[in-house]
Each structure stands twice: as C-alpha cells, then as structure tokens.
C-alpha cells in the first residue's frame, strides 16, 4: 500500500497523470471500422503467415500512428488567451473573446473545434478553426447568455481535432481559467411605481446645489458663472458681484435594503426580489439618484453613476439567501448599519419573507415591500 502511495506521488506518475488529463483520444465510428479491418487483417496475417498481409497490416498500423502524430502536432504548442468582461447581466447576451495562437514553427494546425470547460463539462460554443497557419494567431468571439446570477467559472479551453483522417478524436485541455460575474437580470418596472417611490422620498432630500428654483446660497461671482444668475439686489447693496445658487430639486438619497433571510420554499421569490432590486437600482441610477444598497451585512455606500451601479450589481450578484434557521447572525444582518448621519435617506426595504415572531422590530424603513407586494410587482419576471 505504501509502495502504491509512493508510486502515485512519484513525479513520473504525476507527469503521466497530467498528460492523460491534458489529452484524451476517442474513436470515431470510421475509426472503429478501421480498427476492425486492421484487426481482421492482423488475424489473417497471423493465420496465413503471408508477408503481404503483414505489409497491409503495417500500412493500417502506420496510418493509425501517423494519425496520432499529426493530431498531436495540431494540438501541440497552441496558446489560448481569454478576455472576459468584469460583470455581465443575466439573460443579456455578452461577447467573450478567445485568442488562439499556433506557436508551431513550421506546420499549421487543422480542423480545430473549441469548447469551454465549465464544471468539468465541455460546452460547445460553435467555435471552429479549419486552418491556423504556423506562427499566427486568431481572435475568436462568441456570444454568451448567462441565465443565473453569480459566478461562472470557465475552467479551461478544450480543443479537439479529427485531423488528419477522421479516425480518432483527439482532445487537448488548455488552462484558460476565468471567472465571470453575472448580475441579476434587469427587468422593466412600472414608471408609476418608481415615480411614487421617488415622490415619497421627497422629504428625505438633502439641500444641495443644482438646477432648481429655491435659493441655496449667495456667493461672490467667479469667472465662468452664468451672468443670469447674478443677484442684482445684493450686488447693488454690497457693491460686489454676487451670484445666486439654487437648490437641486431632484437630488434625493435612496437607500435600498434587501433582506436575505428566507426559507427554502421562498427561493423563487427571493430570486425575483433580487432581480427587482437590480431593476430598481438600474432605474434610479438612470435618473441619477444617489443610491445606497444594503444586502445583509454588505453595504455599497452612497453613490451615483454607472460605476456605482456596477458595485451594487456586484453585491446583488453575489448575495445568497440565508435560511431563518441560521439564527442570530442572520437576523443581525437585517439591521440597517447607518454609519453616519450624512448618509441618511429615504429607505426602501425589500423583504421577501418576514418572520412573524420578530416582525415588529426587524426592519425599520420608510417603505417596506413585503412578500405579497413583491409577488405582485415581480409576477411578470
């Protein structure tokens, strides 16, 4: 036993094992027939002792060997590089690119079909290279449609070839590991709902300069200021050019809290809720609202713009449902960790499931969307 273990850990054994993992050969139907013929001729040669049968047997065997050598040559010294985006959105087609280089000095590679290796399985993306000349490379792009949020791990790239005679299917595995993060899908929400939500949050807006009609501040004129903004009365009074700053009307902060506690039977609603939050965040970002997302213990912080939206979508892509049995830690996660006063805003809590026993003091928010409301809002998702 000890000997076996030491043998298994020996460098030669690991080399062979690595080699077998990298290469695999499968017989095609034509190859099976060819092998049967070879076997038949071999039998005839042994039985008759006829040297011309041995010659034909040698021909068949050499065709097999040449087939193996050439297919190996096709797969050797290929270099693969994968280019993937940082974040993709579920149910939206994304283009991935794969660059393939043939580092052989003289001979081209033929009849290559390429596959992504995902969870140990070869996934056909319909990629084929009929001819890749020596010392040249090619950039292939293909669409990818992710259906689930979370990580997609592209473990490797598999290249296979039937070259030269189509008798054997030789496969080679090339390490091109890449991780692809998939955010929840973005669905259209009713304009009325978003307007209503924004309208309710009016009171939580912080005074800040921007376009509007209300006076925010008076200050000295600076080069480049709009001359129409000069406050003439104060200018006359102070004998200095004073401009008027207005308060932005639509700049209000919204905090979206997603409850991640839900039993297993609420899995579907939870996922739809995540999708709903992603869609809501997308709408709010489109309207340039400063938004903050809190998912469990994760907090995106307050921000706006597309970069901040990506941060929030990343949180949503990775959030996982926690079952109520997980206990106090999970419940603790529901509390809104408002760190400082300056980041307060209109809070919308999305609660796909509510523990009846603890319903009174779990989530404190300006607007709470419970399971029933969520069902109504997301039934079309």
């Amino acid at each position: 036993m000890h000997l076996l273990i030491s043998l298994r850990t020996a460098p030669a054994f690991s080399f062979v094992r690595g080699l077998s993992r990298r290469r695999s050969i499968r017989l095609t139907s034509e190859g099976t027939k060819f092998l049967l013929f070879t076997f038949g001729i071999g039998l005839a040669a042994i039985n008759t002792g006829n040297n011309l049968f041995y010659l034909l047997l040698a021909m068949m065997l050499s065709l097999i060997v040449i087939s193996g050598l050439l297919s190996e040559h096709c797969l050797r010294r290929l270099e693969f590089r994968r280019h993937v985006p940082d974040l993709i959105i579920a149910n939206e087609p994304t283009t991935l690119t794969l660059s393939v280089a043939n580092r052989n000095r003289h001979l081209p590679s033929f009849s290559l079909r390429l596959f992504d290796v995902v969870e140990g399985q070869d996934v056909d993306r319909g990629l084929a290279i009929h001819l890749l000349p020596a010392q040249s490379s090619v950039l292939l792009s293909y669409p990818l449609l992710a259906t689930k949020r979370g990580w997609i791990r592209l473990e490797a790239t598999r290249a296979q070839t039937l070259f030269p005679f189509g008798l054997f299917l030789k496969k080679g595995r090339y390490p091109t590991e890449a991780h692809l993060l998939v955010s929840p899908p973005i669905k259209p929400l009713t304009v009325r709902f978003v307007d209503e939500l924004v309208g309710e949050g009016q009171g939580e807006s912080l005074p800040r300069r921007g376009d509007g009609t209300q006076l925010y501040n008076l200050r000295l004129y600076r080069s480049g200021d709009d001359s129409r903004a000069i406050h003439w009365m104060t200018t006359a009074r102070t004998s200095q050019l004073i401009v008027r700053e207005t308060e932005a009307e639509d700049q209000r902060r919204i905090i979206v809290v997603l409850s991640i506690v839900a039993p297993e039977e609420c899995e579907s609603l939870f996922e739809r809720s995540v999708t709903f939050v992603a869609s809501l965040l997308s709408q709010l970002a489109d309207r340039a609202y400063p938004v903050r997302l809190i998912v469990g213990t994760e907090d995106s912080g307050l921000g706006s713009g597309s970069a901040h939206l990506l941060v929030m979508l990343r949180l949503l892509a990775l959030c996982e449902r926690q079952s109520p049995e997980a206990g106090g830690i999970a419940r603790h996660g529901e509390r809104i960790p408002l760190t400082h006063e300056g980041e307060r805003g209109y809070t919308v809590a999305i609660v796909p499931w509510l523990d009846q026993a603890a319903s009174t003091n779990t989530v404190q928010a300006d607007r709470v969307l419970h399971a029933a409301q969520l069902e109504e809002l997301t039934h079309a998702f």
């Binding site: 027939k33 041995y54 040698a58 050499s62 060997v65 033929f110 084929a128 090619v138």
Partner: protein, 731 residues
Amino acid sequence: MPFDQAFALSSVLLATTAFSGLVLAKSVPLWLALPTTIILIISLLQARGGFSVRRAMAQITVSPALWNVLLIGAFVLFLVDLTVISRDLLPAGIHFLVVLMSIKVVTLQQRRDYQHLYAISLMSILASAALTTDAWYVPIFLLYLLTAVWTLLLYHLTQETGKGSVVVRPASTAPCHTTFPSRITHRFFWLTNGTAVMTIALTLTIFFLIPRIGAGMLQKTSGETLRTTGFSERVDLGTIGSVKQDPQIVMRVELPDQPAVEKDRLYLRGLAYDQYNGRSWSHSETRRRSLTFVGEGRIFLARPTGSRSADSLSVPIRQDILLETLDTAVLFAAPFAEHVSGEFLTLQTDAMGGLYLPFPPSSRIRYSVTSQVPRLAQDERTASILAYPDSIRSHYLQVPVGSQQVADLAHRVTQEATTPFGRTLAIQQHLLENYRYSLEADTGTLSHPLEEFLFTRKTGYCEHYATAMVVMLRTVGIPARLVTGFLATEWNEYGGYFTVRQRDAHAWVEVYFPHSGWVIMDPTPTVNTLVATNRWESIRRLGESVRLQWDRLFVRYSAKDQLAVVHGVREGSDALRERVSRWGSLISAPIDQIFSRLTHVARTFQPGMVELATGVSVIGLALLLLMLRDRIGLWATTHLPTSHPQLAIVQLYARMVRTVERHGVGKPPSATASEFAKLVEREWKAAGPMVADVTALYHQGRYSRTPLTAGELSRAAEQVGRLQSLIHLAR
C-alpha cells in the same frame, strides 16, 4: 482543383488501384475486367471534370430501386459462381467484389457510399495480396497507400468544410487564415504527399519490426507451378526441346563467395541417368536414402556415393538458390552437393547424387548448397589404362541393344587416342565439330533417335549430344552417365546472381575417373544465343534484380531474418563501440601519459602543486565564463531555437536595457521604449544610435504585423554586442 473534385477523383483512383491489383493477379476474367475497366475510366473522367462526360452522365438517371435490384442480382451471381462456376470461395468472392465495386463507383452519392467503396477496395487489395507474391505488387501497394492517404485526408476535410455552414465563423483579425482554402493549394499538395511518404516509411519500419508469429493455419499455396521436363524417373530423348524456348524463370542462384569475374556459366545438376534403352533414359536404382544432419543449424550432408571427398583437386562453391514453384521435387545445385541447408525438414538423395524433397514444394523455396566441383587429376589425363570398380562397370557401361553402328563410330573416332581421357576428348571433339545445334530436331516419335541424330540428321540439341557421347564412351569402355539440369549463363550484375530460365534446361555428361571421380564433359556446342546487350536488356536485368530483392526482403521475410537483423545490429554496435573505444584509447593514451608525467614532476617539486593547478584551472574557467557570459547569452538568443522570433527581440531588448543600466542610465518604469531611447541619447551620446536601432527593431518585432527577419535579428544582436563592447571600453 476544388476539394470536392479531388476527393471524388482520389476515391475512384483508390478503387482503380485495388482493381488493378486484382487484374494483375489474374483473378478477374476478361468478361468482368473489361466492363469494370470501362466503368472505372468513365468515373475517373467524370471525377476529373470532363464536361462532356459529366453532361452525359447527368442524363443517365437510374433509380435507387434498380441499383438495389442490381445488388441482389450480383449476390445471386456470386452464389451461382460459388456453387457452379468457380466452386471456390476466393475467386467467387473476388468476382463479387469487382461487381460491387462497379456498382458503388457509379452510385457514389452519400458519404456512406464512399465508405463502402473504401471497404471494397481494401478487400480487393487484400485479395490480390493473397493471390500473388510477384514484384508488381510493389507499385500497386505504394500507389494504393498514396491514394489512401489522399482519400482519407480529403474525406475528413470535405466533411469538416461541409460542417462549415453551421459553425460560427470567428471574427478573426485575418479571416482568410481560419477557413480552409476551397482548392488544392501547392502547399497542401506537398503536405499530403509528405504525409504519404512518412506513412510509407513507417509502414516499412513496422513491417520489418512486427513479430512474425504466423501459424499458417489457413495458408494457401500461391497456385501455379512451373511445368518442367527432364527431371522424372524416365526421360524420353528429345523432351527437353519443348522447353528450350521458354523464358520463364526457374531459379536464381547467388554465389556469395565467388568473385564477380568468372561467372560465364554454371552447371546446376538435377538428376543423373544410367540406363538408356535406345529411346529413353532411366535409373537402374530408384531407391533413395534420407540425408542426415551434420553440425548445427539443420545442414544436410549430401555427398553422393561413389564421389570423392573434398581434396585439393576439387573447388568448393557455395550457392544460395531461390527455386520457383516447380512440379518436381528435385533440388538443383552445382555438382557435387556436399552440404545443403534450407527450410525443409527432410531431404533425400539417390544413388547418383540427385537431391529430392519429399514432395514438390508448394511455394518458392530458398536453400543454400556447398558443392565441390571435381577436377581431373593430372595422372588420369595421361594414364593409358584405368581400373574401374565393379560397381561402376556394372552400372555405367550399359548400352542399348543394336547400337553396333554407334560403337563402330566411337571406335573410329577414338582409334588414334591412347588414353581413356584422350578417347573422351576425341568423342567430345567429334560431336562438337561435326554436328549442328538445332532445336527443330524433334526426335520424340522416332524409334532410334540416337542413330537418327548421329547418322541421318546430324542436327540436334543437348540431349542428343549428351546421349551420343555417353553411349559412345560406354561402347569404348569408359563409364559415363547422362545428367539433366540447367546451364546458367545469364548473370545479373545488379543483383549479383544467375537467372536461370526454362530455356536453360540442359543435358551433359559425367565421365568416371577412378581417382578424380565423376568429371563433367559437355559435348554440346556453345550456342550463340542472341543476347541483347542494349539498354533494355540491362533495364530488364535491373527489374529482375528488384524482383529478387522484393522476394527476399518482403515475400520471404521471416522471424529468422528478424533475428538476423537483430544480431547484425548488435554485432555492428559492438564493432562500433570497440572501434570508438580503440580510437579513444589511441587519443587519450598520449594525453594520459603527458598528464601523469606532469603530475609526477609537479609532485616531485611541490607536493600540493596538482591540487593548486586544478583549483586555478577551475577558477580561471569560471572567470572566463563570467567574462564571456554576455557574448554567450547573445549568441544563445540569436542562434538557439526559440518558440517565437518575438521572444528573441524581447530578450535582446532586455539585455540592452541591462547593459545601459550598468552604465548608470536606468529605465524609469513609466518610460516607454522610445522615451528611454531619447533618454539614452541625452545621457550617453555614444550609445544613442545603437539603442535607437535596437528600439526600432524591438517595436517592429513586437508590435508590427511583419515579423523580424533573421538578418534584422542578427543586426539587433550586433548592436547589443557593440553596446557591450562600449561598456568594456568605458571601464
């Protein structure tokens, strides 16, 4: 040529090659060969792209149902052939294969049809291998292999390009590279032929290495045997004449120990006859004895009774004989066979030294014979009386009844001779001078052919001459006998062997001398046969030699030969090793001597001198390597193979940066290559042009589409070298 067209053409060519094999093996009758040939030619023309043929073929539409009926009909024909006509599975099967091939060639539409055609052609080439061992199989096999490689490759590629419509065409930077050309390009042509050549080389390697474990359970004899005359127990006078114009090869005889000269003629003895009844020759004693082994390696001792053992008079001659399939069990060899070895279990001999196998061989056989050619002793040339043993007198002085006229002639011819040898020569001379050689003298139906030859026609051939001499010698009291065999005169200088044909069948005389034994005498005049010495004759002999090599290396290749090759390789490697070690010792001996003398001197003067010298040498070598490391690295970058030319220029650039840094001009991490070149130009003016040149080449090699040439790469290496020299100068 477009791929599809080339594929169709190579497929039909494959079938045609296999069919040619069957035709050359004479296994396809004319009534079947002719229509099949026409069908194949039309298919070839159609595949080649003959417009008119295509148009004509397009107008001929035959429904699949009719083809099915034809197939059933072919099968019924096969059954009839098997049970009524051929009554043998192999010929009937071959006829069926040919019919199937014709049908398939015409109905090639789907890929499955092509697969069927390949299977049929493989069976056909297999069948022709079973039916022949002739050398024509070589070109057929090579052609088959070549077309098979083309066909398999094109089969695969046409399948792949057919799938092209469903695959996503990659958004390539150079789309033309990823899709296969639609026509056979020059490069593809040579690539495929190169693959075929590789396959042929590998086939030969595997063929010679594959272990021969043939059980021979289903071995079939290769059929036709050559009919010979003159080697049965009874031979009518005049029978050899029937084969004297037959050019078929009977055997090939190599003389491995003989020099290339003196190979004008070689007698190959078959059987000897002692009894002549006036019309035919026969043996007085038909009893045969089995030969015994001598020494190791299945060598038969074949010295005939009445012959003398080897002495200074006899000349040993070794022959390696490849005998064709004959209808006789007689083995031929130069007189007189002493030792025989070959692939046979037993061997027999008769009282007069004839060698026999237990039964006629079913295929070609190869055997080796060592013979002792007797010479006449000088004292017997001049002896006036010779004392013959009774056993000889009783057997070899018999003459047919009523040959008084012949006896008178013999006495008249020999009346002036005083010795037996003189009388023998006189009779031989008389026959040589007074009779004309002619193959037209048919004496088979005559009641007294010998008298007819000697006194009436005075024309005849070897049998008549030899019979006349034997009878005449016997009438004057000299024991003699008639021998039939072959007289080899056709030396093949390419293969180094005698080619013996049916027409070389010959009869001659053996005369007995008590001390010398049986001595060959040939009274037949030398026939000036028209031997063509032109170019064609030498080409024919070359072909002949190729056929022999084919037979030896392929048809007769056996486990024994494999063993011989292994032994040969081992002995060769041993000899090589020995030679290398001898050279090594020759070279190293004086060096060792000088070194030991130096060591001795060093130890005499200073005990620690040797260790010191060794240490100094090692350190010196290390310092030398350290000093030359840049040069070595530079050489390695440009001369050693790298995976990509990009890599070489990148390495050279990095080397240049390191070199410049040693001068104190470092490359800031934020600086691009161009900025760094400008920096160097400012800080170290002398290095500026070199750095600028290498930087330009670096840009070209790394970022442009055109890769660097070998010349440009060496220019970059040269510039880096100059830069390094500049550093050394500065120091």
